[in-house]
């Protein structure tokens, strides 16, 4: 639940979550996982034939992944729904180009990672503009729960990493991908993945030590 003011300025509990803009809200809990009863390849075939049910199944299967990955890559909560929408539209529109050489999840990670990096770039430009225009940064809603505090702390630490290092660390430590899979997602040799991971881990430990005296 999120505390917010109602029309009369009274504090009240929001059951629907804090709406940040049209069609956007902060997440609060998890949906039930979708059983992977149908193989990805079969699902892709059905999607390509225009089967709306298959599209929905594919969405249900990968929506939690996209949400988690976007969050870990630093897409703010208020932009996450729009990002997920863009990513899925990109996935569905380019599904006909998916050759099945990599796993579907790897391919989706690739699309999501590119999108997150693009959004990050835009966000940084906006930040720079805001600083130049001497505009105040809007204060985000604060969810005081321990879980949210921890995630916010992690986000701050991850935010200090270079985007490439962050992507590798997130894919390895949060998403649980192997170095080989990560090399497919980010398009670099496996050795580079290990190197980025090594540096990212070292930076993260340093950052954590600064936060915990």
């Amino acid at each position: 639940m999120v505390l917010r003011s109602d029309d009369d300025g009274r504090a009240s509990e929001s059951l629907t979550g804090q709406n940040t803009s049209m069609g956007q809200k902060q997440n609060t809990s998890s949906p039930a996982p979708v059983p992977a009863a149908i193989a990805d390849a079969e699902l892709v075939r059905a999607c390509r034939s225009g089967d709306m049910t298959a599209w929905r199944s594919l969405y249900d299967r990968y929506a939690p992944l996209i949400h988690r990955f976007s969050a870990a890559l630093g897409i703010p909560a208020e932009e996450r729904e729009d990002a997920a929408q863009d990513i899925f539209i990109a996935v569905f529109r380019s599904l006909r180009h998916f050759r099945g050489e990599a796993q579907l999840s790897t391919w989706i990670y690739r699309i999501a990672a590119r999108h997150a990096i693009r959004l990050g770039r835009r966000r940084r430009t906006r930040e720079t503009m805001r600083v130049m225009m001497l505009k105040e940064k809007p204060q985000p809603e604060v969810d005081p729960s321990e879980r949210s505090t921890r995630l916010a702390t992690l986000d701050r630490m991850l935010g200090k990493l270079a985007p490439k290092k962050r992507t590798v660390l997130v894919l390895f430590e949060v998403e649980g991908l192997s170095a080989k899979e990560i090399s497919d997602v980010v398009g670099c040799p496996e050795n580079t993945v290990w190197s980025r991971l090594h540096h990212a881990r070292a930076e993260m430990v340093k950052a954590a030590r600064r936060m915990v005296p």
């Binding site: 225009g50 089967d51 929905r56 249900d60 995630l151 430590e173 949060v174 649980g176």
Partner: protein, 412 residues
């Protein structure tokens, strides 16, 4: 072994725990549903910007090539005319295989020829037809396609529904989003489906429907015949002229299998929205427009856009109906009116994707308004309607507080 599984200090422990916490994030169900509703809207729209340019480029190139070819060939061919068609007809060239085609394959379209009319072209009076020895696959919108056999024609009626004018068409309709039904007309009959494959034939004096997959409903006036996979149905093209009643004239041929043969079910036609009314893309564009209006502080314009979009059909109209209430509540500051609008949304989309959200919004708004009794009734209804909802706990706690508030006001 995981990195930092045996942490050396508090900092490492915090880091590992936080990473594990991040790995458990999956987003909430309502957010996922809302994103899906938007994704589905976009998927149902053609790739306008890309295909628009592609079509323009292709058309220009084709005109140029034809002009050159015409100049060179005409003197030799003389007055021999190629295959002709009525003025409004898009013609498909002789195909042979069952290959699937997509808008992306415009450049090298496999046969049967893929025809994807723009939404503006799927209008009353426009006809797509095939001549002798020709076949075509026509995009009907909403992901549905019609494979036109030779000497067949499809047009669009006044409600923008596809109509098989004559000949035979095998239709493939993807499963439609909630609240959305696909209809095609054939003579005086309306064939309504949710998602299936079937063939419609409009012959000299009869209309035939044969179902390959799923269930379809053939209706005329207040009568509906439900057909399952394997069923074939035939009815007179001009029922008024047929001897005897319509019931006698129309017949259902059961599938060749041994399954029981119930008499075709006859029921009142439900007022399900057909694939008609407002063009999908117009509705689909409404939400971003409304969003932009809100961002610029023009709430009344946003309300106006959403109100118009809500009158349409399909997921975008559903979204607009919900958002209309939300904007009324949070931007216009009219909670009572918002509750009425959410209630209207519920009546119109009882199983809509945003139903849970609408229910929660009503509970929340009524409780904020201090309407304890109504809020409690809504909260109880929510708990019984969504027993497995992840929000059940929250609503239950709110209901308990509302009950306590009700009890204290009664004791006073």
């Amino acid at each position: 072994m995981k990195w930092l599984e045996s942490p050396q200090d508090e900092a490492e422990k915090l880091l590992r725990d936080s990473l594990d916490l991040a790995a458990q994030q999956t987003g909430d169900e309502i957010s996922h549903r809302r994103v899906w509703a938007k994704v589905a809207d976009s998927l149902l729209e053609p790739e306008r910007r890309i295909s628009g340019r592609l079509v323009l480029a292709t058309a220009s190139a084709t005109v140029a090539v034809l002009a050159v070819v015409g100049l060179v060939v005409y003197p030799y061919v003389g007055s021999k005319r190629p295959l002709t068609a009525p003025a409004t007809t898009k013609l498909a060239k002789a195909p042979s295989s069952e290959a699937t085609a997509s808008p992306s394959s415009l450049a090298a379209a496999p046969e049967p020829k893929w025809i994807a009319p723009e939404e503006s072209e799927r209008a009353p009076g426009n006809v797509v037809s095939t001549g002798k020895g020709e076949r075509a696959r026509v995009a009907l919108g909403g992901g549905a396609t019609a494979d036109l056999a030779e000497s067949s024609a499809v047009t669009w009626d006044s409600q923008h529904r596809p109509a098989i004018e004559h000949g035979s068409a095998r239709l493939s309709v993807p499963h439609q989003p909630p609240g959305w039904r696909f209809s095609v007309t054939a003579g005086p009959y309306v064939v309504t489906v949710v998602g299936t494959k079937f063939t419609v034939e409009v012959g000299g004096r009869t209309v035939g429907v044969e179902v390959s997959e799923g269930v379809v409903e053939v209706s005329r006036g207040s009568h509906t015949t439900r057909l399952a996979a394997g069923d074939a149905w035939h009815g007179p093209l001009y029922p008024e002229e047929s001897a005897g009643s319509e019931d006698q004239a129309a017949s259902v041929t059961p599938p060749p299998s041994e399954r029981p043969q119930p008499a075709p079910a006859r029921a009142q036609v439900s007022p399900a929205p057909a694939l008609a009314g407002k063009p999908t893309s117009l509705i689909g564009r409404s939400l971003p427009e409304a969003e932009a209006a809100l961002r610029s502080g023009d709430t009344s314009r946003a309300i106006d856009i959403l109100s118009r979009a809500a009158q349409g059909t399909g997921p975008a109209a559903e979204n607009a109906s919900y958002e209309l209430a939300r904007v009324t509540r949070y931007n216009l500051g009219k909670p009572r009116q918002a509750v009425a609008l959410w209630d209207k949304y519920r009546s119109r989309f009882p199983n809509g994707l945003l139903r849970t959200e609408a229910d929660l919004s009503i509970v929340e708004t009524l409780s904020q308004l201090g309407d304890v009794q109504a809020a409690l009734a809504e909260a109880n209804a929510f708990i019984s309607r969504h027993p497995s909802s992840e929000r059940r706990g929250d609503v239950q706690r709110l209901a308990e507080r509302l009950r306590a508030a009700e009890a204290s006001s009664e004791s006073r």
